[in-house]
Amino acid sequence: MNLSLLILIPLLTAAAVLLMRNAAQVRWVSLLGASAQLVLAFVLLFLFNQQRAAGNTAQMLFETQYNWFPSWNISFHLGVDGISVAMILLTAFVVIAGVLVSWNVTKMTKEFYFLLILLSMGAYGFFISLDLFILFFFLEIAVIPKYLLIGIWGSGKKEYAANKLALMLMGGSALVLVGLLGIYFSGKEHSFDLMKLAALNIPLQIQMICFPLLFAGFGVFTALFPLHTWVPDGHSSAPTAGSMFLAGISMKLGGYGCLRVATFLMPEGAKEYANIIIILSVIAILYGAFATMMQKDLKYINAYSSVSHCGFVLLGIGMLTKTSMTGAVMQMVSHGLMTALFFAVIGMIYERTHTRQVSEMGGLLKRMPFIGTVLFIVGLCSLGLPGLSGFVAEMTVFMGSWQHPDTFRRIATILACLSIVVTAVYILRAITKTAMGPLKEGFELLTDATWNEKLAALILIAGIIAIGIAPFWLNDLIAPGAEVIMQKLAIPK
């Protein structure tokens, strides 16, 4: 399969969107494009598994390479392993759900959908790039549309939020760029090629400098403490689909970068800084959870809980075992689906009640059984109920973390385990107050979800349940990818 299709289809969709004449056409073209992405992602999964079953054990499959800027050794080099395939699937799910829930956007519909589709292209490009320059290029494409999405279609303190988000993510990108240049100039033969660099073994002193730069830079995207503060403001000001993309896709760019670029290329750096990563991620997990407990706005609740949940991604990476890294990737997929669903359902509630304050709601289950049920499902997924995806991912991280017998990592794992109680407290508080209890006055005439909202929710729930009930397929997809990274870590200096 030609991986360029993953970039080409969103690009064509975006172009087609610009040519459409009215909002209805724009919506349907976008939905068509998003469906094509989903189909493509499934085809990729199928072909990938077929290749693996046929015994193709190359690290990257479907590699394609075009010379792009030969004098600087930049090439358009694409390829996927199981981790990338998992992330591509996640992106396709979130994109189609995001397109569906934005059905009622009336302000500048064409531009809105154009930016959404463009953002998805950036994400796909990022996940399939094997050349660090191209990878950085797509990372930027995934950042800029968000500034506009929040600034134009947002709510509340949107200018402040848009500025903050764009500046912090740009700051992260700057760190990444410096780190990448450091790597580029480290060898005798200057190269941005991921596979070549991996084979070269970057010198130790370069790793000591570039690893923290890259990890922190990508870490900004995935809410590494204390660089997470764009998360609450950004998410709460963004339009529904914007929040979904931001939490469902953008935050995953960071986790993927930490794993694929920082840890894979610089295993010595990873070992050296592992303790710091573990400390910061445990802080993010617990502190994010406690901060969530005090939030009153549904979007802030989900945003802070994302900080806590993304802490598991970083913890899984920092623990540096195959199981924990598999868990980290699973958590990225799981959290992406779950948080997109959570923001979608918050958007549905907001459109009807015109409030996001937990204290102003009550008894929604009575008037909106579908939305109320979805809220329960997503809440239970967030607090790690078996049968839904969150449980699988968290348990895999815990199992992987416990493989170290040293006291430091033991204590870190126990502290991380404690967060599941705090999560239960804030999630139950949020969902019982909004969905249960007596129906609030003025809510008697609220209507339940429309077809597009139902479809969006069902697609994401299908993903959550497919992982929750049968995690083995995802595990089989990801674990060999994590294994390769582990082999690199195991090589002595």
Partner: protein, 651 residues
Amino acid sequence: MPNATYIALIPLLPLAGFLMLGIFGRKYFKNTSGVIGAALLLISTVLALYTAYGYFFEYGKVDGVYQKLVPLKYTWLQFSENVSIDMGIIIDPVSVMMLVVVTFVSLMVHIYSLGYMKGDERFPTYYAFLGLFTFSMLGLVVSSNIFQIYIFWELVGVSSFLLIGYYYDKPSAVAACKKAFIVTRFADVGFLIGILILAFHSGTLDFNTLITTLTSPETEGYKSAAAASFMGVSALTWGLALVFVGGAGKSAMFPLHIWLPDAMEGPTPVSALIHAATMVVAGVFLVARLFPVFAISSPNALTMVGYVGAISALIAAIIACTQTDIKRVLAYSTMSQIGYMMFALGVSKYGGEEGLGYTASMFHLFTHAMFKALLFLGAGAVIHYIHSNEMKDMGGLRKYLPVTHITFLIACLAIAGVPPFAGFFSKEEILLAAYEHNTAIYWIALITSGLTAFYMFRLYFNIFWNAPSPLERAGGEVHGEHHGEGGFVMMMPLVLLAVGAAGAGFIPFGHFISSDGKQLNTEFHLQFSIAPVALGLAGIFIAMWMYKKQNNRPDKIAASLSSLYKAAYHKFYIDEIYTFITQKIIFNLIGRPAAWFDKNVVDGMINATGNGTKDISESIKGLQSGKVQSYAIYFLAGVIGLALLFIYWWT
């Protein structure tokens, strides 16, 4: 050999019911969902009985020992070569007995609810949730992998949450379901860490392998688990103790019991099923499942189990004597009886005659499921009739609810330990086991059995005797067209359970269930039974003296024991202590500062960086004004400056 398909169907049928009624119930099965749920469960029950018959009488025994069979196992999530979560079915005496208990009680509750929940707005949802619970509980008891049991453990927790909060527009129900979930979740963290410890040392999650590894001193796993220690306690003991914390949470053992009385906010049949007969004994089941490891490798952890059980039994019995809500009395009574099962395990040893406590515990679990489900369903009939949970609204109901009255009396006699009802036999075995191994626990148990008889008959006389019923007081016109006892569907489960409560004691339990799978012959000691039976009868007579007819004796006695009575009435202020810890400490001292810190310090620094950059550029932006005149002045100033500099240097 067991047929895996049949056994797998036992949990899967209720799951199918859950999915069907949960997704389509509201639209298509508005009125028929109860019948569908009950029919599916009837099939499950028959299959469970069939399995039990086959296991106990046909293929289960090899050379006089009941085997642990694993007819089905799928890898669900592979962590590393040997460590994986498997979904499987284990068939051994305990799991087979639990299959029978769970399906039978659940079936009774399904049938009973046809009458009790009739006309409820969310009738299909109710049956869907019952199906989900039954599936999860059955999955729990057949788990072949310690992580599998944890998965179903969480699932029963959430079903319990959904059913306690079934009347979701009632704020007290919402608060209760939240409390139940969070308290048990807290305990589950212990369970989870316990699993991590045990799995790390034994190198497996599979129950059979794990138990074998951790009970054989020559294995590497055992050596590392016994050698590694933290705060002077071996890793093995830590692991087991933490697993037990999870069990104590689910089984409402002191001090994690606070959710159980509140859980009575759920519909009464649900209390009968989940909070009396099945889910709350999951903790006992868990200890029983890991019993060889507890008994052989870590007697200290087992002793802890014993004392926690004994203390819970006593405290709950004291509190039960003072409560006035009939369901709460039953809730504390449940906690007390589970305490019996726990300490029976705690005083037991592994193998042979010494394993009497194990058999007795499982026996009591079985008989308790019968009489406690019966008590709850009987209480449900009373509540259904009188529309109140409070004792003061009841009295003299024996004339109006004759079937409920007789079956309730049987259950009371059974729980009070009056021969020849079921509770007598199982309690006798427990007391004997305690007497042989731990005198302190024996005395606690003896006192508790007297208290049990007292509070149960206090309940019985207050409901069915005492003052004239409100009906008579109001001239018989309270319910214009009152609905009697709820008809056949509500009475049949009562009668069937009453048969169980009266007769289950005659089952020679030791022949089927023992700590090592071999036959255990339990003897009956007449002289030993004198003390508990006498105490039980004394309790009954005191209750009769105080409550059979209206009088002021209870008030006088309460007044003379004022401080103890008050403390017990307020459940020893344990709830208040918890509220203090959670509200004052966790919310105010951790949550609030964390949120404040994030908003002001961390985010403040980020904003300060932004503002600092802005301020600097603000102060220097005048230099780039675009005005040619200013540039000319800078240019001129520069030239003059440079000229002066050069002049200074050259001279």
